[in-house]
């Protein structure tokens, strides 16, 4: 890296950008103190930590804007083992998270249409279409995305990501590391874990070559330790929703999960979730819930509907329904017990193969049943997500079993996590209204 490029990077990212984002955070925090600015009759004001979340995400993408001046860049799937990449100093971009950002700011449709114009079918994952749309057109709400030097696809969330990353590798002419995680139908086998471990071991020299440096074991352990701390804190935060009234909803969790996904090996992420936990505990102490009058509590299964979070929160909140637990946000904390800092590669193999989407449909039902009990839930909404077959298959049986075996009503809600065209507000409203009525609200 030339001195000039480094100076440019530090000027824009660490001086101008950092200062700007910090000022914006102070402004937002100050404004949040005045609850009169909050415009909702049913939802309580958002967590004060929200301004910090925005700063973290903003800083992450700001770094991304200039990352090619300073770092080697890797694009990874959301369930990929990233600890070794982080320890090697890569700037790590999660195209799925970027697509979710596009969804929340209502740009996903416009960007995905660029991919559709290039021939990609509307029947493929809407995250992939959004990402490919950005690759093709350069359109993004975050300035610009850095060009990758390396791609890493891990099949523990779906096979779709491999299909998607093959296209990226082909179009961008960038090497692709595959971490293939055999699906766990019932019991995990030793040869499957060994296979994942071996692939991580084989991936390291490739990543080292791209990074131009060797992996230091102490650095890897440090990243694993920070990741473990952040995951434990995240799990504590979301489990606080077991309190009644719930101090945090899944809609809050969807927004505040960005750092645990994108920045889980950073010291700042640990500080962030520690502060978030403190604020959530303060809410509990003050008896503040996410909605003004909590009557019923629900589970959310599957990815969020990014472009309708506020609508869903308001619609349900108006009827006294708080959605307080989610199989999706839980996935980023439930495996923290498997992380062993002193054996990072072995534990990475074991942890990443156990991600909820890589386990059987019966296992997911068990997670839901446990959550119904632990979070004192009155029902469940299963988002049948056109774009995520691996998460959605099994939901019809899971819904039936929840109703039959646990005795809670469950609703299958047809939509798509990032494609507004697959969301019919009228239809969703009718179904939700009927469901809420069934809950006896």
């Amino acid at each position: 890296m030339s001195l000039c490029r480094e100076l440019r990077y530090h000027w824009y990212v660490n001086l101008l950008g950092r200062t700007g984002l910090r000022v914006r955070r102070w402004q937002a925090t100050w404004q949040a103190k005045s609850s009169s600015r909050w415009k909702s009759e049913v939802l309580t004001p958002p967590l004060k930590i929200s301004a910090w979340t925005k700063e973290l995400i903003g800083r992450h993408y700001l770094k991304g804007n200039y990352a090619n001046l300073h770092n080697k860049v890797t694009w990874v799937t959301s369930g990929a083992p990233v600890e070794f990449l982080q320890a090697l100093g890569f700037y790590i971009l999660y195209p799925e998270n970027h697509a979710a950002v596009c969804g929340t700011v209502r740009l996903a449709e416009e960007i995905a249409s660029q991919a559709e114009n290039a021939g990609f079918s509307q029947d493929i994952c809407s995250y992939a279409r959004t990402d490919l749309g950005t690759v093709i057109s350069g359109k993004t709400p975050v300035g610009r995305l850095p060009r990758p030097d390396l791609l890493v696809a891990c099949t523990n969330i779906c096979q779709t990501v491999l299909l998607w990353y093959r296209v990226l590798s082909h179009r961008l002419d960038v090497p692709l590391i595959l971490i293939d995680t055999p699906f766990i139908y019932s019991q995990v086998t030793d040869h499957a874990v060994e296979f994942v471990k071996r692939q991580i071991e084989e991936a390291i020299p490739t990543a080292e070559k791209v990074a131009g440096k060797s992996l230091k074991m102490y650095k890897l352990e440090e990243v694993a330790k920070l990741g473990l701390q952040a995951s434990e804190l995240w799990l504590e935060v979301i489990e606080r929703a077991q309190h009644r009234p719930a101090p945090i909803s899944v809609f809050d969790q969807f927004i505040h999960m960005a750092p645990i996904v994108e920045m889980r090996g950073n010291p700042g992420t640990v500080d962030f979730y520690a502060a978030m936990l403190r604020e959530v505990d303060e809410r509990i102490a003050q008896g503040i819930g996410v909605i003004k009058e909590e009557k019923k509590r629900l589970l959310w299964d599957n990815l969020p509907i990014w472009y309708r979070l506020r609508f869903l929160a308001e619609f349900l909140g108006r009827r006294g329904v708080a959605v307080v637990a989610s199989t999706y946000t839980n996935a980023w904390g439930e495996l923290s017990r498997l992380i062993e800092v002193s054996r990072p590669i072995e534990s990475m193999a074991r942890t990443y193969i156990f991600i909820i989407l890589n386990r059987g449909t019966g296992d997911k039902l068990s997670v839901m049943k446990r959550m119904v009990e632990d979070f004192h839930l009155d029902g469940a909404i299963l988002h049948s997500d056109r774009s995520c077959k691996s998460y959605s298959i099994g939901q019809l049986d899971q819904r039936d079993r929840l109703m039959r075996e646990v005795g809670v009503p469950a609703l299958l809600l047809e939509a798509d996590h990032n494609a507004p065209r697959a969301f019919s507000e009228e239809q969703v409203s009718n179904r939700l209204a009927a469901f809420v009525e069934m809950l006896g609200v």
Partner: protein
Amino acid sequence: MAAVLPIHYPRSLLRAFDILPVEVWGPPRVSTDYGAAHLQPYLCSIVHNALSFLLSGGLDITEVLVVPHACDSLQGLGSILLDFISPKQAVLPVYLPRGTRESDIAFFAQELRSVYDRLQALTGRSPTEGELMDCIEREEAADLLLIQLHRCHKTLPLTDFAFYRLVRSREYLPAEQFATLAQEVLARGEALSPDGIPLVISGILPEPMSLLDALQGMGGRIVADDLACCGRRLYPPGESDDPFRRMAERIIHAPPDPTRGGLLSARLNHLLGLVEANEAKGLVFYLVKFCEPELFDLPDLRQELRQAGIPSLTIEVDVNNPVSQGVLNRLEAFLEMIG
């Protein structure tokens, strides 16, 4: 008898346990009502039909249900069969690795060993390595004949319909019976190339098969394929002396298939090779709706084929529907354009 779902699986391993594998590619044109109680409408018709066929008793004759892990939908189907549906057949999922690395072969060999263990527990039999190797060699011989049939495709004295009926009999006939049929056809020798505009077909399966007659009636003919049920399963002989490793090598070294990962450029080169070697004038992507493995590759493959001067056409079908007039019109227009 074992019912086997698409796409890749170790035939010889099943045969070593005296189990006859019969493949279930849908099947086409069954009522999907039973499957709809368990599966969302945005899954492909092959998966819907397979479950419907099973639940309606169509597979009652089988004792084992093999579910290779080809895609997210088949993964999910295998999982709900095990966790919720619990059919009378024993369900055997098989995970296929997505690479061609040494670690993939080693893993897959281990995976096949565990399938062996499950079959052993199920049948009470314990075929020796020698018996297993005999089965492998028998399947290899049949597969070599299958490769030969595909190589001679354009000069065989068979209509496309007859050719695909023959090669697809590999989906249910024992290797030795298939070999007899294949040898008989190959012994007839080459015929003069029939008339027709030579095409390569790519996709999952050529259903409904009446499409082939219709295509020939319009003046086209298939000279090679990249179909999941046919050309992507021309397994080369293995090399290892270890039977499990050998079975793994065969599947991993098969022609490119997006469900087994691999580089897109390898698939493109394979298609270009098929077109060039068979002097095809165009390529038809004949896809099953909602099939992500096919849909992701499509734009880049079509664009680069175009750059190479090879026209292509995409047709998306549901295996339950008859060939529509719309599809026939598009094929006819495509043939006119390239003819």
